[in-house]
C-alpha cells in the first residue's frame, strides 16, 4: 500500500511539472495576450450577438484574440459583478447593459455603474408601443385617449419584472397620465407571441423585436420612444412628434473595472471604436437590426448620472425598489 502510494505521488509530481509548462509569464506592453470580454447574457441573445460581432471586427486593431465568456444569471448581476471584480489591467472588458441601472435599486448588487470605468456606449435600442394590426387605434394619441376612457383595461406585455421594457411601459404611462396593466413575460419574444395571439393589447419592446411581425402584417408600431425616427421604420413617429415627452430605451456599452491604467483604456477605446466603424461591423449590425449608437465615455457618464436617478424613481413607483 505504502509502496504504491509512493509511486503515485511521484507520478503526480511528474504531472504537475508537465503542466507547469502551460503557465505564462506576463509581458509589459499592452495588449500582449488575449483579452477576455464578459457578456452578462446568454449565448445567442441580443447582447451576445452584438458583442461577438464587435469582438470579431476589433481583433485586427488590437492584434490579439478576444475570448467571450458568457457569465449569465441573476438578471445580469453575475456578469456585471464579475466585471467589477476583474483584475483592473485592461485584459478583462465587460459589456455593461441597461440592467446596471436597475440592479442596484432592487438591492441585488452592492455596486453601481460608478464602480466601472466606462469606455464607450455601443448600442441603443428605443422602446416602442406596438399593438395588434386590427386594434381600434391607429395612432399613439388614439391609444392614449382609449386608455383614458378604459383605465386598466389595456394589458401591456413586457420582458419581465425590472427589465427595461417593464420600465418603458411604466415611464410612458406616468408621463401621459394613463393607467395600464403590465403582464410580465420571460423575455421579449414570448410577449410578442402573446400579442400576435391577441391575448394582450400591447407590448413595450423595441422595434427590432417586432420587425418580423410588422412585416408580416400582424402588428403595428404606434410610436417609438426615441428622439429621432428609427432607421428601418421611417414611417413610425416618435413620441415627441405626438406631443409626449418620452425618450427611453435600452443600451449596451463597454467598461473596465475602476483604476484600470489610462493608456490601456485609451488603446481599448480606440481599437473598439475602429471596430465599430468598420464596414464589416456596420453591415453586421444592420442585418441584426440592432441600433448602433456610439457615445464617448464622458457623454455616456453624464447620460447615466441623470437616467440612473429617473430609473430608480420609476422602480420605486413600480414597487420594485427596496
Amino acid at each position: 500500500m505504502i509502496k504504491s502510494f509512493k509511486k503515485l505521488t511521484s507520478m503526480s509530481l511528474i504531472l504537475i511539472m508537465m503542466s507547469a509548462a502551460f503557465s505564462h509569464v506576463q509581458a509589459a506592453d499592452f495588449p500582449s495576450k488575449r483579452l477576455t470580454l464578459i457578456c452578462p447574457w446568454a449565448a445567442g441573445g441580443g447582447t451576445d450577438t452584438i458583442l461577438r460581432g464587435l469582438a470579431r471586427n476589433t481583433e485586427p486593431f488590437l492584434g490579439e484574440t478576444i475570448t467571450i465568456i458568457n457569465k449569465t444569471g441573476g438578471s445580469g448581476a453575475i456578469g456585471h459583478a464579475a466585471g467589477v471584480r476583474a483584475r483592473p489591467d485592461g485584459y478583462t472588458v465587460t459589456m455593461v447593459t441597461f440592467d446596471i441601472l436597475t440592479l442596484p435599486p432592487q438591492g441585488f448588487v452592492p455596486f453601481t455603474y460608478k464602480d466601472y470605468d466606462l469606455l464607450m456606449r455601443v448600442n441603443m435600442d428605443p422602446a416602442a408601443i406596438t399593438v395588434p394590426i386590427d386594434a381600434p387605434y391607429n395612432t399613439i394619441e388614439e391609444f392614449v385617449a382609449y386608455s383614458k376612457a378604459n383605465p386598466g383595461k389595456i394589458k401591456v406585455g413586457h420582458a419581465g419584472p425590472g427589465t427595461a421594457w417593464h420600465l418603458a411601459g411604466s415611464i410612458f404611462a406616468e408621463k401621459v397620465g394613463i393607467d395600464l396593466a403590465y403582464v410580465p413575460y420571460n423575455g421579449a419574444a414570448p410577449a410578442v407571441t402573446a400579442l400576435v395571439g391577441k391575448h394582450i393589447q400591447a407590448v413595450s419592446v423595441s422595434p427590432a423585436e417586432v420587425r418580423g411581425q410588422v412585416e408580416g402584417g400582424t402588428v403595428k408600431i404606434l410610436a417609438v420612444m426615441s428622439d429621432e425616427r428609427v432607421s428601418g421604420f421611417p414611417e413610425v413617429p416618435t413620441m415627441k412628434e405626438a406631443g409626449f415627452d418620452v425618450s427611453f430605451g435600452t443600451w449596451r456599452g463597454l467598461a473596465v473595472p475602476n483604476s484600470t491604467p489610462e493608456d490601456a483604456k485609451k488603446i481599448l477605446h480606440d481599437a473598439f471604436k475602429k471596430g465599430m466603424e468598420s464596414d464589416a461591423f456596420k453591415a453586421f449590425a444592420a442585418d441584426t437590426g440592432l441600433g448602433v449608437s456610439y457615445m464617448s465615455a464622458e457623454d455616456w457618464e453624464k447620460d447615466l448620472s441623470t437616467s440612473s436617478v429617473s430609473v430608480a424613481k420609476t422602480m420605486k413607483n413600480l414597487g420594485l425598489a427596496r
Binding site: 446568454a42 470579431r56 441585488f108 419584472p161 403582464v183 407571441t193 412585416e215 408580416g216 420594485l320
Partner: protein, 491 residues
C-alpha cells in the same frame, strides 16, 4: 404546397457541400448532446457565429444537423450512465438505464436512434405539410392554457414515481418548492435566495440535473464498487430487431404526433414532450408496472416524442416568426442575420427558403439515423470500461458540464449539493424524476397562472373555465385518480 419548388429545394440540399455540413453538424450535435451540461441550445448558440459567412443552404444544414443530433445525443448518456445529456433525454433514462444495466445497452441505443429518427422525421414531415394550420392552433395558447398544460404535465409525476406514489408526491412537492427559489415572476421579489445573486434566477436547471443524476450515480457507483459486477454489453446488431419495432411502432407513432404538437406550442419544449410520450406509452401498456425496469417501449416513446418536438418547434418560428423553444429562438436570430425574416411574409415571398429548411430538416434526420447506427457499437463499449476509469471521467465531465453552462463555480457547488441529495434519495428508494418534472413545470404553472390572472382582472373563474385550460385540468385530475386507483387494485 408547391411540389416542384420543393423538389428543387431538396435537390439543392442534396449537393455535396450542404450534405457535408449536415453530417458534420449531426456528428458534432451528437457529441454535444451526449455530454451532460452541453445542451442543444448551447450547441446551436455557440456554432451560429461560425455559419455567418456560409451560404444559406450550408449554414441551415449545419445548424439543423446540430439541432437534430444533439436532441438524440442526450439519450446516449441517459442510457449508459443514467444521466440525461440534455433535459430532453430525462424521460429516456427511466427505462434506458435499466436496460443497459441488464447488458442490453446495444438494444436500447439502437432503439433510441431508430425512435429518434421516426420522431424527428415525422415532426419534419408534419412541419412540411401542415405548418400554417398548426401555427394557428399554437396561437390559441395564452397564459391560461399554458397553466392548464403545466398542471396536466405535473400529473405525470405519478407515473414516474415507481413503487411508492406517496414518496413520488412528496418529492414532487419538494421539487416544486425548489422551483420557487429565485425572483418572483411578477413582482421580482427574490424568494428563498439567501441573498445570493447566484440564486436570483433559481437554481440553474442544467447543474441541478447533473447533480441529481450524474453525481448521484457516480456516488452510488463509488459506494458499490466491489459489490456490483462489471456490466457486460452484448451487441448482435446495431439495428433494432424486428420484434422490438413491432412491439413499439404504435407508441412511436403516437409519441411522434404528440411531440410535434407540443413542440409547436411556443414555450413547451422537448423535455415536456418526452415525459408526455412516456406517460402515454405507460398508460396504454398492458404491463404498466414493468415500466421503469427496462421496457423498450419507454425508450421508444420518450425518444420519438422529444425528437418530433424539433420539427414542431420550427413551425411557429417559420410561419409566425415566433420561436417555439430556446433553440429555435437562436435559429431565428441566425436567420435574421442571414437576411431572412421568418414570419407569414416568408411563405408569401420566399417559399424557396421555407422549402430549403424543410428539406434540410428531413435530410438531417436521415443523417442522424446513419451516424447514430454507426455509433452504437462505439457508444455501447463506453460502459464496458472499468469503473475505476469510467467513474473519475464522469466526475470530471460533470464538473465541467455544470461549470460551463454559466461559467460559474457556484453551479458546480449546486450540482454537488444536488448530487448528495440525489444519492440519499436513490439510496432510500425515493424517485428522483418527480423533482425534475417539478423543476420544468413548476415555474411554467406559477408564472402562467399569475399572468393569466392579470389578463383576466384577477378572476380565477375566467381563467379556469377557458375550454383548453379546463380540458387539461380535467385530464390531469383523471390521470391522478386513475393511477392511484390502479395502484390500490394491484396491491
Amino acid at each position: 404546397m408547391d411540389i416542384e419548388l420543393f423538389i428543387d429545394a431538396l435537390g439543392e440540399i442534396l449537393q455535396w457541400k450542404p450534405l457535408i455540413m449536415i453530417f458534420a453538424g449531426v456528428a458534432g450535435g451528437i457529441l454535444i448532446g451526449s455530454l451532460p451540461g452541453l445542451t442543444a441550445t448551447m450547441g446551436v448558440a455557440l456554432l451560429v457565429p461560425f455559419t455567418f459567412g456560409l451560404p444559406f443552404n450550408e449554414s441551415i444544414g449545419m445548424l439543423l444537423g446540430i439541432f437534430s443530433g444533439s436532441v438524440y445525443g442526450g439519450s446516449i448518456s441517459a442510457i449508459l450512465i443514467n444521466t440525461p445529456g440534455t433535459p430532453a433525454a430525462a424521460a429516456t433514462l427511466l427505462d434506458g438505464y435499466p436496460l443497459s444495466q441488464k447488458g442490453e445497452a446495444g438494444r436500447a441505443l439502437s432503439m433510441s436512434v431508430f425512435a429518434s429518427f421516426v420522431g424527428g422525421f415525422t415532426g419534419a414531415l408534419i412541419m412540411t405539410f401542415l405548418s400554417p394550420q398548426i401555427s394557428q392552433f399554437a396561437l390559441e395558447f395564452s397564459a391560461a392554457e399554458y397553466f392548464g398544460l403545466a398542471t396536466f404535465g405535473l400529473s405525470i409525476i405519478i407515473s414516474v414515481s415507481g413503487k411508492s406514489i406517496l414518496k413520488g408526491i412528496m418529492v414532487g412537492f419538494l421539487g416544486l418548492l425548489i422551483s420557487t427559489i429565485g425572483m418572483d415572476p411578477v413582482s421580482g421579489y427574490p424568494r428563498f435566495t439567501f441573498g445570493s445573486m447566484n440564486l436570483f434566477e433559481g437554481p440553474a436547471f442544467i447543474p441541478t440535473l447533473i447533480g441529481l443524476f450524474a453525481f448521484a450515480e457516480v456516488f452510488k457507483g463509488v459506494e458499490q464498487l466491489t459489490s456490483t459486477k462489471q456490466v457486460v454489453s452484448k451487441i448482435n446488431s446495431v439495428f433494432p430487431s424486428f420484434a422490438d419495432i413491432k412491439r413499439t411502432w404504435k407508441d412511436m407513432a403516437k409519441s411522434s404526433v404528440l411531440g410535434t404538437f407540443i413542440g409547436s406550442i411556443p414555450g413547451a419544449g422537448s423535455d415536456i414532450a418526452a415525459f408526455v410520450g412516456y406517460s402515454e406509452a405507460k398508460r396504454r401498456s398492458k404491463t404498466p408496472e414493468k415500466f421503469g425496469t427496462g421496457q423498450i417501449e419507454g425508450v421508444a416513446a420518450a425518444e420519438s416524442a422529444n425528437n418530433a418536438c424539433s420539427g414542431g418547434a420550427m413551425i411557429p418560428m417559420l410561419s409566425l416568426g415566433v420561436p417555439g423553444d430556446a433553440v429555435t429562438a437562436i435559429l431565428l436570430g441566425a436567420f435574421v442575420i442571414q437576411g431572412i425574416q421568418p414570419g407569414p411574409m416568408l411563405y408569401k415571398e420566399d417559399l424557396d427558403v421555407v422549402y430549403s429548411v424543410f428539406s434540410a430538416m428531413l435530410v438531417a434526420n436521415i443523417a442522424m439515423l446513419i451516424v447514430g447506427f454507426l455509433g452504437v457499437r462505439f457508444f455501447a463499449r463506453a460502459i464496458t470500461v472499468r469503473k475505476s476509469i469510467l467513474l473519475p471521467a464522469i466526475f470530471i465531465m460533470s464538473i465541467v458540464g455544470a461549470y460551463s453552462m454559466r461559467n460559474n463555480m457556484f453551479d458546480v457547488w449546486l450540482a454537488l449539493g444536488f448530487g448528495v441529495l440525489g444519492y440519499f434519495l436513490q439510496r432510500y428508494r425515493f424517485p428522483v424524476s418527480p423533482i425534475l418534472l417539478a423543476l420544468i413545470l413548476g415555474p411554467m404553472a406559477e408564472a402562467n397562472l399569475r399572468r393569466a390572472l392579470i389578463i383576466a382582472d384577477n378572476s380565477m373563474i375566467d381563467v379556469l373555465s377557458r375550454p383548453i385550460t379546463a380540458t387539461f385540468l380535467i385530464l390531469g385530475l383523471a390521470t391522478l385518480v386513475m393511477s392511484i386507483l390502479r395502484q390500490r387494485r394491484s396491491k
